[in-house]
């Protein structure tokens, strides 16, 4: 029979288990934060038809060095901290082209590109340095999104903490003591999970329908004019891609035009005999995928009833001229009419509108302008834009450089006036007459506060479509705004075409630790050990005498067994 445990033993067992539990709980306590914590934004990671692009890793745990590293240093386990102001683009090109191993890259951007920075806004007068930085960053962005980088790349904004860290790192680099495990220095740690691909990213198109006046005969369907703008962006850092100009300015212009025409159409006496269809499309950077799906969802009759469509793309930072891009030949009667309306209004407002014709190649999947999607389905369309040349894939899609500081709301106001007056002339048949419907100081004037507030909202919302959640509040806000101005609003949710795959790392927190070198740790251990030993010997000597201390070290004399 097994012996029963005595009560005392049971008590000891309980006590031991409690102590073990306490130790386990205490070990789960998280490490405290480092000296500095900085918000950092990850470079986008995506695949096009399986080909990988962007930065493929997210976790970071390396020592930091600056651009002043010694030429023969091995950088495969260090993070390069590069401020944009001292940036040399050929250096990065060389590094990427030669596939040199690197622990990580951290770019330090000036605060002017930070959408959370409430600095000066709206002036188009950039001083020389800002212009230079903008160009350098634009070039950098284009290089980064088209390269496969097998190490983590992050963006951060300059602030006092990280500037101090950078100054320290530079000092120690210049003296030839790079930060490694043996010499101590700054350590950058980003604890992020392995990036996972986003499962079936979706794009949401919002359409608003403003019905025209049916003159007696109901069977005859009214013609429609469509006004379209794409609202999503793509950039090197998806958490920073606010796209104020591309295409925040287009969205704002569309909303303002919708507001003005809803005022006109609310009164049956001023309602035009055209239906107005407003479309906020998604999937813009990806060859206007969303527009294509939206158009294909129309039935044939509706498509045929569209007289023409005006797509608005980037009208936020122009001075004297705008471009109308078409794909149908300029001799087409509709195109001629559009050009007449627009150029006459433009002349009155004091700037130029030029026509540019670009033929579409059906076999080429690249869709450079939104109107090309309309043209592929035989709907007349044109794009109004400040850009004179068609952008390449993933260019001018509202990336890092497209911040609120570089957008002029007066340019948007002039663009809205142009679109609204030209449409009104077509709808109400005022061609050739010098009538201003949306005159300043009338109750149909373009509202600058409306434009400014919507532009500010757009400039603070990153809008890369695959990262929108289901029922994203921003998309719902756009829908609600369009509901205020139109009769009927519909949402269309579709999956993004399979050519693009995205991964889910967007932003993280960087912990900066100042780590001491190994020699320092060993030295400290030695000092403390000797302090404790000295203290112990002192106490033993004063209480028991020197002999006792020495006897601790001598082996006790072996007992001689006395034989009986």
């Amino acid at each position: 029979m097994a012996p029963r445990k005595s009560p005392r033993e049971r008590q000891m067992l309980v006590l031991e288990s409690v102590i073990a539990l306490v130790f386990v709980l205490v070990a789960c306590v998280e490490l405290c934060d480092g000296a500095t914590v900085v918000d950092v934004y990850h470079l986008i990671q995506y695949d096009i038809s399986g080909a990988p692009f962007g930065s493929r890793l997210a976790g970071l745990n390396h020592h930091a060095t600056s651009l002043h590293f010694s030429p023969h240093a091995d950088l495969s386990r260090t993070v390069l901290l590069i401020p944009l102001r001292e940036f040399n683009i050929s250096f990065v090109k060389e590094y990427i082209a030669e596939n040199k191993p690197l622990g990580g890259l951290l770019f330090l951007l000036p605060q002017i590109f930070n959408f959370e920075n409430k600095g000066e806004v709206g002036s188009n007068h950039l001083d020389g340095t800002e212009e230079l930085l903008k160009n350098v960053l634009a070039e950098l962005e284009q290089i980064l999104i088209r390269t496969n980088l097998p190490y983590p790349v992050y963006f951060a904004f300059e602030d006092d903490n990280i500037n101090a860290v950078l100054a320290d790192i530079k000092k120690s680099d210049i003296t030839g003591q790079p930060a490694t495990a043996t010499t101590g220095g700054y350590k950058f740690v980003v604890s992020a999970l392995e990036p996972k691909s986003l499962v079936s990213p979706s794009i949401t198109n919002i359409q608003g329908w403003l019905t025209g006046l049916k003159a007696g005969d109901d069977a005859h369907q009214l013609p429609t004019i469509a006004i379209v703008a794409s609202y999503d962006t793509f950039g090197a850092a998806p958490a920073l891609s606010v796209g104020s100009d591309s295409n925040g300015s287009g969205v704002v212009a569309l909303l303002e035009v919708a507001r003005l025409f809803s005022l006109l159409y609310s009164n049956p006496k001023t309602r035009g005999q055209y239906n107005l269809l407003f479309g906020l499309t998604s999937g813009g950077p990806y060859n206007y995928n969303g527009t294509r799906k939206w158009l294909r969802s129309f039935d044939q009759r509706l498509r045929e009833s569209i007289d023409y469509a005006i797509c608005i793309d980037s009208i936020g930072s122009w001075e004297n001229e705008l471009w109308i891009h078409v794909s149908k030949p300029p001799e087409n009667s509709y195109i001629k009419q559009i050009m007449e309306d627009f150029s006459s209004v433009a002349e009155e407002l004091g700037f130029n509108v030029n026509l540019k014709h670009k033929k579409i190649n059906i076999s080429n999947p690249r869709v450079a302008w939104e109107h090309e999607q309309f043209s592929r389905l035989r709907v007349t369309a044109a794009t109004l834009s400040e850009l004179s040349a068609a952008p390449e894939l993933l260019e001018k899609t509202g990336g890092l450089i497209d911040s609120r500081h570089f957008v002029d709301e007066k340019a948007i106001i002039r663009g809205v006036k142009l679109v609204a007056e030209s449409l009104a002339r077509h709808i109400y048949g005022h061609q050739g007459k010098n009538i201003q419907i949306f005159a300043d100081n009338s109750n149909l004037a373009v509202n600058p506060y409306y434009i400014r507030s919507w532009l500010d909202v757009l400039s603070q919302t990153p809008r890369v479509a695959p990262f929108f959640s289901k029922d994203d509040p921003f998309v719902m806000a756009l829908k609600k705004e369009l509901e205020d101005h139109t009769d009927e609003v519909n949402l269309q949710r579709e999956a993004l075409d399979g050519m693009f795959t995205f991964y889910d790392s967007t932003s993280a927190k960087l912990n900066i630790y100042q780590v001491a070198s190994v020699t320092f740790d060993l030295l400290l251990l030695l000092v403390l050990g000797s302090y404790l030993i000295v203290l112990f010997s002192f106490l033993v000597i004063t209480t028991r005498g020197l002999d006792d201390l020495i006897s601790l070290f001598r082996r006790p004399p072996s007992r001689k067994v006395k034989t009986a």
Partner: protein, 202 residues
């Protein structure tokens, strides 16, 4: 050894725990949390008064608890040791565990260790003076006021250090140095007093 020093130390540690709880409750009831880190005389006076609960606890541990088999000489050492051990563990173990595991190095924890050493010496000298005050019946008349004054100084050490930190703005290393120095001085004085009281053996 034949003396039950371990048991005495453990009992003293338990008494310290109880004293700390009582002090916590009193502090929470009577003190208000000040926003700035400045020296507020009224608050500090209140804290000093509450600090005397410490002294009462030590008195309880020395005089009231019955200890087996221990001479007066060694009693104060064991009680002081148990007291200081409980104080160090309760005040310093948790911050050490949480803080010292980080990647960065700070001198704080080493200074805290030195502070704990000073605290140990101070506790033992306070226990020695306490045992002189409450346990020894025959004391030379001239030395009695000195004993009480020294005991008073040692008991108000926490208030003095907090005044130095807040009122004069001393940094942590300076304060630890001051504590070490005063603890050695007070230990020496109480050693002298103790041996002075030993001499007249009736």
């Amino acid at each position: 050894s034949e003396y039950d020093t371990l048991g005495t130390s453990i009992k003293a540690a338990v008494v310290y725990l109880a004293t700390a709880l009582v002090k916590l409750i009193c502090l929470a009831t009577f003190l208000k949390v000040s926003e700035s880190d400045s020296f507020d005389p009224y608050q500090e006076l209140l804290k000093a008064l509450i600090g005397f609960i410490d002294v009462a606890g030590l008195y309880f541990a020395l005089a009231q608890l019955t200890h087996r088999n221990i001479s007066q000489n060694h009693k104060f050492q064991a009680v002081g040791l148990g007291w200081a051990f409980a104080d160090s563990v309760l005040h310093r173990l948790a911050p050490l565990w949480v803080g010292a595991r980080g990647l960065e190095f700070t001198w704080d924890y080493i200074l805290q260790g030195l502070e704990a050493n000073a605290n140990l010496v101070l506790s033992i000298s306070l226990a020695a003076l306490g045992s002189l005050m409450w346990l020894r019946k025959n004391k030379p008349k001239t030395l009695i006021p000195i004993i009480y004054v020294c005991a008073g100084i040692v008991a108000t050490m926490p208030s003095i250090t907090s005044y130095l930190r807040r009122g004069l703005g001393w940094h942590f290393p300076k304060i630890v140095g001051f504590e070490l120095f005063t603890s050695l001085v007070m230990a020496f004085i109480s050693w002298q007093l103790f041996s002075a009281c030993q001499r007249p053996s009736l």
